[in-house]
Assembly symmetry: D3
Homo-oligomer: 109 residues x 6
């Protein structure tokens, strides 16, 4: 079975191909992401967790993997992740419980 | 390949871990679910089918598996499921057709 | 201020104009709706409440008005509406609370 | 009552304030938009109609107003708009009927 | 025209009526909200901003008003709000720009 | 691992079973689809790409596969697909980047 790591690697490889196919668009989107994750009142790690919370509320598996990976690289711990997931559940109900449980499982794997 | 039953087992195991990680939140959510599925004008089985219909309209695979399983345990038959899926299609168009077809396939498997 | 009844009248008038502009499409959609709301395991009134629940979970104001009106015409009572809204909250969290509260308010007005 | 034109003016004024508050983000988003609407296989007018179709499928009123206005400025006619709305209905069901009817109404007003 | 404050007052009054109509459900949901907004790695104000970001990404007007009001009461400033909105735009594109611009406008009004 | 082609075959087989289970509904939906994809200002291939763009903005994997397959059969090229995906990204942000990258990958596979 495909592991979490395999899935992330596959998603990143698809993203690279997409960025090559539409460079101007993805340069613009990269500028959006850069600004959205720059440290400020929230740290970059916290901002990646907010992205995870939105991804959970929207039910986007690849987004969860991607932003969870980024959050981890910025040193967030499980307690902070759980707080973000709790807000996603408040704002997303049952589906957010399902995707939040996936996010926690991914974080721990 | 992962069967429907495997997927449901995996989802339930993730839910258990999530509930352990955030017990107060999940106790609150459990109270919401308990009230939402209590028999009234609609039976519990019918209510689980309504949850399936919403899950289909939202496109949440794990939710479909979970609430379909609960509906089955409360004795709903395929005719009632199909009625719920038809309303999901009315309210969700093409994507609901796709997820509705998955739900029917899961119910039969 | 626009009343609930004004809003419903305006929505229905827009629907009529839309149906006139794309008759073949709306004839197909009408067949979907007709089948989706035909009495079966669920009564037509219950089915309109399921449509309300999906509309609440999706946050579509005009859909709430429209299907609530249809549900009322099929004789549903407030207790049944509240049950449908409770499932919407289970599956939609905070936003469903907001739209569910609107639906109840509309039903009572 | 607020007219369609008033609503669009208000939305554009809010956008201007938002762009001033977060210039780097909106510069990135502007680059995304510019690339997304550049004439190619689809004309710019057709691309604005695709944005309208997505906005209808998502139920975003301000987006409908905004991209409908842009589509009109690029010379699209009602027949092309209706085609875009038909696909939105195929992919969005009842809610897309409601927002599509709003879009048509806005286009004609 | 209805002001932001009028809209919030109306939403809160609808919520009160809804809570009275389904007290057990809303008690459960209240427990979810309480846990989701308890101070931890994120302050309560920051958590309310995350709820705003999710509301913006989902396009729920009443949720934006409600959680923005809560965030303000917990002392968040505009800079922190804008950071939250930037992540919503990263995760929500054009519709999030529209609702984010509304959120900023509401915060300033 | 399941290939793109396997997934599409499985989705079509589920659709066939669903259509058999609810023929009147799917006949209505078929009429909606037929009208939505009839050649007009947009070609049928372009219309299938608009359906792909909406599917990407909504995050429906099976819909992406299905409408991409239809688009290909109507002779669309990669350049036109990328244009449709760019609008999806404008209207859907990060999740649309993820699903758009999947769509491109599917188209090339």
């Amino acid at each position: 079975m495909e592991t979490t790591k395999d899935k992330l690697t596959a998603a990143k490889s698809r993203l690279a191909a997409f960025a090559k196919a539409t460079p101007a668009l993805m340069q613009g989107f990269g500028a959006v992401s850069k600004q959205a994750t720059a440290a400020g009142s929230f740290t970059t790690g916290q901002k990646e967790l907010i992205a995870v919370a939105i991804a959970v509320a929207k039910g986007c598996d690849d987004c969860i993997l991607y932003h969870l990976d980024a959050a981890r690289k910025h040193g967030v711990d499980e307690a902070a992740l759980i707080e973000a997931l709790e807000i996603a559940v408040e704002m997303g109900g049952g589906p957010a419980v399902m995707y939040g449980a996936k996010a926690l499982d991914n974080f721990r794997s």
